[in-house]
């Protein structure tokens, strides 16, 4: 499927949504947090099952975390972006929609302290056992000695 068609499909269902196609096979969607499950659910119903990963970017000056869901569907990499406040970083779990998200949700919870509400398995996945619970190494204000 061409990227413009994907864009049309999403725009048709969610008019006024911020969406751009930087190049063929890449679609970037920017949505408010409260529509996350709705948009991912819609994409799932269209046949999107593959979540490549979830990335987080710490935009410390703007006091924001950017959470990006990299989905893959019919030759297109669809990136769904939400922004959450840095002082209260909570996102809902997307595992009911995309069960494969569990690994990545566990990862970002440990690495960034982005709390995932109702996550089925809250244990950290990557950090050492004795790593302090409230230190998140990938945040920008964590400095390496």
């Amino acid at each position: 499927m061409r990227s413009e068609e994907v864009r049309g499909l999403i725009e048709g269902r969610f008019p006024g949504i911020a969406i751009r196609v930087p190049r063929e096979r890449r679609v970037m969607v920017h949505i408010p947090l409260e529509r996350l499950i709705e948009v991912l659910g819609f994409l799932r119903d269209q046949g999107v099952t593959h979540l490549s990963t979830i990335s987080v970017v710490d935009r410390i000056e703007e006091k924001l975390f950017e959470v990006l869901y990299h989905l893959y569907w019919e030759n297109n990499e669809i990136t769904v972006r939400v922004e959450i406040p840095r002082e209260n970083p909570v996102i809902p779990t997307v595992t009911p929609v995309l069960p494969g998200a569990l690994t990545y949700e566990r990862e970002i919870q440990g690495m960034f302290g982005v709390m995932v509400k109702d996550i089925p398995d809250p244990r950290r996945i990557i950090l050492p056992d004795d790593w302090p619970l409230d230190v998140y190494p990938l945040r920008k204000d964590y400095m390496v000695q």
């Binding site: 990499e77 990557i126 390496v144």
Partner: protein
Amino acid sequence: MKESIVIPIGPQHPCFKEPMRLDISVDGERVVDADIIISFNHRGVEKATEARTYIQNLYLMERVCGICSHSHATCYCQGVEEILGLEIPERARYIRSFIGELERIQSHLFWIGIAGHEIGWDTLLMYTWKDRERVNDMLEQISGNRIHYAMNTIGGVRRDIREEDRESLKRGLEFLEERAAYYVHVITEEETFLKRTRGIANLPTELAKQLCAVGPTLRGSNVKMDVRADDPYAAYEDLDFSVVTTDTCDVWGRGFVKASEILQSIRMCNQVLEELPGGDIRVKAPAKVPAGEAVSRYEAPRGELIHYIKSNGSNMPERIKIRAPTLANWLVMSEMLKGVYLADVAIVTDAIDPCLCCSARVTITDRSRGERRVTTLDALRRRRDGRTGVA
């Protein structure tokens, strides 16, 4: 109440690859649950990239993984080139694909050998590793290194395929083609292999898709997904190959896909040698990268590799997110382990090619009685051999 035994395997396992731990709950000989702990190998590469320049990061990227170093470096370069809006020369694209396919051949030969080892068939290990040396020779001939080829740079590749090397590379590919055909034959015909892999660790197509498996694991479950075909990069748009899938959804299927992919890779390598365009191998790239972002994807030997790169206008990246294919296969791995025999744990975990196994020490803890027994995987192998009757 039924007695449940938790068997931790690892983290020290003497043969190869990373330290990691598997906590396997068993009921008798059957695995009921599996938990994988991978934090042993965490070094903090993603954080380190933010304090290094784009060129310094090249060296770091290669060292994310020693087996697929070209994959990480290419994926990273592609992303940075996309932000820069840099068009790399045709010849560089072909050379990237060539090295990438040689890397896939060595990685898959590596896997066949390790799989042989896991089912107690060391002859296969020795055979494949002997042939694998030929690939390493070819890589050394081009790049000067057996591992960590250091071929990539932002804007192209660092070394050319020289005209005088073409003949010996062709001969090498010819040799490998003959050997690869033999290994496909071994995997499809040899009873030793079939008996240990057919019908083991089923991963139905739907489950594989839902849990976001990647690479040969996914293609072994009959899903036709390959970044080289779906989202072509480097020279793959111009190369002929077919995406191999099977519908057996078991360990054997994953092995068959890998072995058949070697033949496809050789086909592509031959085509590159035939059609290699002339011209430069790199263009000059600026040290500073304008603000922007890119999602770069690559089909590593183990599956889809994805880098998300965000730049901020300086000579250091704002954020690089790396998702290696093995991480994507964790969830399916614990699913696949449920219900298999304890003796098959080694080959099942190895089927996703995770960098695990071999003769790790195993502690059996009997929770209900609080007993601790210590055994080794070798002892487990002996138990298995007694069960299947294979000498």
